[in-house]
Symmetry: C2
Subunit: 336 residues, 2 copies
């Protein structure tokens, strides 16, 4: 099955992906930060059992992966594919995940919370992604007993997740809003209504490829439905704004920018990660605006050009060869 | 017949062109700066007659052109093709030239001196170009009486041309010497032995496309042969230096630079004259080093992408459309 980033999806001219994350903890067990290795193994086993014993067709699409059996390169490549968090990847204790074939569903066991359910899909698909996450939540809840407080809701390690434990986010490609210098103003205004704007690789990451992740910050005193509805409204406003600003661009200038990016990607022999991301961002803009016709999937390439994804493809690569392999990988994708 | 810049020539991996210029004045006539319109017309007529009446096969390949009959765009395009000087183009008095079909031979009548014989050829062809200039000189001398002093040699308006009236120059493509920051040092050392280094469009012009014109400064007390021999020695040293420095380049970096230039030229929708020249310079380097295989002739394109050459091809172009037409012209040349 193809990954979420390798298929087309609703509104994907601007919305790169939708992500739903639910944080859950088992009652009667300490939070992961205070767990012994034995307790970690027990946690892993209980979650694994909950999936396998549910015996539903849905559960059968999921596989349990003991991270001990996964090579370090593949673990880092999973971070680059957004399957697991960087924090989870760098942990050295007993780690396990539950993963669907297409990697749209992943459950990290023993990250910050006992269970982190993640559903990631291409384009704008908040309801659909949330439905899947909820099914997983229900499936696990059938067997496991989640720590839940009548007043506070789901209990989580970090108080910012308390309540619904829901983090819903959309990754938006906003090159024109960005180039008109409106991002910080936008971050301020969505911040006031409980949403946050970040770069592509989560908290503290620098924006790259003009991609911005908008997500809810408030999980307490608001229903899941309200959080999703609000995010959808904000997203739609940003989509409309980006689309309308695109229409006002100087056509020949944007064509020039997009085609130059194409020319460099098709020809460069050395390509840094940052430059690749910025050029692919222009390709995405050009394709969305009907300027560039290509079978290439810019977001897919952007992920495949990350360092560990390159090593997955080409084997061990020294740091000083990385830009060469990246350039080769990209040229090949563009049929050169 | 093809122009000098559209055929391959000796050493043209580095030597773009060879130019010989002889300054001559008719005795018994004031220098052009002090001539009346009548005297100018008389000068034009005498030179025209000298050519037509010589009746040799060589003379028959030359045509007399009254600049009054040449549209202003074409006059400026002639400057861009190095057929006439910018000073001659901007003069508004009676102007005429003698020109060969391939434009390798031109005689400006009434520029700074009465007669400026120019022979321009691709690559390094000092003897050949000088031979042709000398034939023209002899041909004209048969009919016209040149101002000549037994001690000073040929008399010229400017004392810097006095003696042989010879300016021999080679245009060299020195991207690697340039990038290693050695040009000014080089200009100093050739300056000490009576040679000068300038940009592509003559005196005071900024270097563009890593092209440098090396020419003799001394015309008095030195024979033509010595001047040519010395220039040839200097040129050969510069060729050797540039070639050997090319061998020491980091191969992948130079490939990257050259292919990026190709990618931009094949794709840009807006291209300034300066950027075009710098990118074509990289294409020339890439082709000389066997990195880029192409039928394209970078020096030819560099001339064809100049503003008036573009207007010659596309008709009147507004200043703000020039970069669009230039980009189109270049893409077309690269078969895009």
């Amino acid at each position: 099955m193809s990954s979420w980033y390798a298929v087309s999806a609703p509104e994907d001219d601007i919305v790169v992906s939708t992500r739903i994350r639910l944080a859950r903890n088992l009652s009667g067990m300490p939070f992961p930060a205070r767990m012994s290795a034995d307790q970690r193994r027990e946690l892993n086993a209980r979650v694994k059992k909950a999936i396998t014993e549910s015996n539903t067709p849905f559960a059968k699409t999921l596989k349990y992966i003991d991270m001990k059996n996964v090579p370090q390169t593949e673990i880092m490549a999973m971070v680059e594919r957004h399957v697991i968090s960087p924090e989870f990847a760098s942990g050295n204790e007993e780690r396990a995940i539950i993963l669907s074939d297409d990697e749209s569903i992943s459950i990290m066991i023993g990250e910050e919370d006992h269970i982190r359910i993640q559903v990631i899909m291409g384009g704008l698909q908040l309801e659909k992604a949330y439905d899947i996450a909820e099914r997983l939540d229900t499936l696990l809840y059938d067997t496991l007993h989640f720590a839940f407080d009548r007043n506070l809701g789901f209990l989580t390690e970090c108080p910012t997740n308390l309540g619904t434990g829901l983090r819903a986010s959309v990754m938006l490609h906003l090159p024109v809003i960005e180039s008109s210098g409106e991002i910080s103003q936008l971050a301020d205004s969505v911040g006031k209504i409980g949403f946050t704007v970040r770069g592509m690789y989560g908290e503290g990451s620098k924006p790259a490829a003009s991609m911005y992740q908008v997500s809810n910050q408030i999980t307490l005193g608001i229903s899941e439905k309200n959080a999703l509805d609000n995010l959808k409204i904000i997203t739609q406003q940003l989509i409309d704004k980006e689309r309308s600003e695109r229409k006002n661009l100087n056509r020949i200038k944007v064509e020039d920018t997009c085609f130059r990016a194409l020319g460099i990607l098709e020809n460069a022999r050395l390509l840094s990660g940052e430059e690749m991301m910025n050029l692919l961002s222009r390709i995405k803009l050009g394709m969305s605006m009907g300027i560039i016709k290509s079978e290439v999937m810019p977001v897919k390439l952007l992920i495949e050009g990350q360092p560990y994804m390159l090593m997955k493809k080409y084997g061990q690569i020294e740091a000083d060869e990385r830009d060469i392999y990246r350039a080769n990988c990209i040229r090949e994708a563009f049929g050169q």
